[in-house]
Symmetry: D2
Subunit: 111 residues, 4 copies
């Protein structure tokens, strides 16, 4: 067994989950938290989806393609919302989501 082919996507998913968790926590501390409610909601979905994708790839689950496809959807939604906000944590999260969406989409097709 080898997780070689998944190694990069696992790393990217983990990095995206960290960025989303951090963004959600940081949004909650912002003065204008009210404007960031959608961002927080999508951060949480995206973080959870990235974590499950990462886990299933580690295990070479038969559901890798399905979860990666779904993870890419969550990343796109979160990345588009985050990109609207100028906070550094939102901008960093938007980039992490974009990267992760691309890699998960490739994985979903290849798997």
């Amino acid at each position: 067994m080898s997780t070689q082919r998944y190694a990069s996507c696992i790393q990217t998913c983990n990095a995206c989950a960290v960025a989303c968790e951090h963004c959600a926590a940081a949004c909650l501390q912002e003065a204008m938290v009210k404007d960031l409610v959608t961002c927080i909601r999508l951060d949480r979905d995206c973080a959870d989806m990235c974590r499950l994708a990462s886990r299933l790839m580690c295990r070479e689950s038969a559901l890798v393609d399905e979860i990666c496809r779904l993870c890419a959807i969550a990343c796109r939604a979160c990345g588009q919302e985050c990109a609207k906000h100028l906070h550094e944590h939102c901008q960093q999260c938007a980039q992490a989501c974009e990267r992760c969406a691309e890699e998960c989409e490739s994985m979903a097709k290849a798997a």
Copy 2:
């Protein structure tokens, strides 16, 4: 906000995750663990999928239909494998998976 419409499916997913976790742990203790490797693998995927479905329903995520559809696939695969084994934990898990697959499929269509 209300999770009323999801309440039953959340319960069913949680119960299925418990059954799968228990089945995996019990399989690992069986003398013939070698024959149960696929069962353990599918138990773990199914448990993780049920937990994520439960969580996204609690939050009324926009991805509820997608995750419920995927959860039903994981439940079907796990339930069919578990049904082959006569251990009580496998039989109980098969039933929990069957129930959860049905409810998640309905939810995926309704959501």
Copy 3:
């Protein structure tokens, strides 16, 4: 192997995780979300802790007493914060946390 002795505490932890997830999501929808930031933060910690406690009990992990002790701390903190807010989801969550704290404390001592 039997999870009989953990069955009640597993149920209570799952119920508390659902209440916390729901409370966090509902708080994010409230007009005065700014006043609920601490509540949301503690809801998330508590939900995650309850889920891990539940999972480790399902597996009869050697760390059951430690995680239940820690879960009780998370439940107390979350329950006390939720109790301050009059929203129905906060009050329900406070009750779920209180119940879960008690059961996890008993489990931590007994395990």
Copy 4:
């Protein structure tokens, strides 16, 4: 808000969770899976603990010290078991666990 002080420990926890997940999945594929049952059990506990520690650090939770202390215990137990087995996945996991135990212990004291 900054997760700077946690950045290294978050990475180490994520890497350890990946190593544990991979080791558990690879152990299940080994011919002598019967000899690896304890390894698989501890891998799973350790992976879950690392993931929760990572998540709570991302959020700068008040429970960081507690979960890092507990995560170090899980890592020590898993690392010691993995070190007994000559499979490459076990040896790699043992190293990841050792590193993570040390970093989590430092974090638990510093937090």
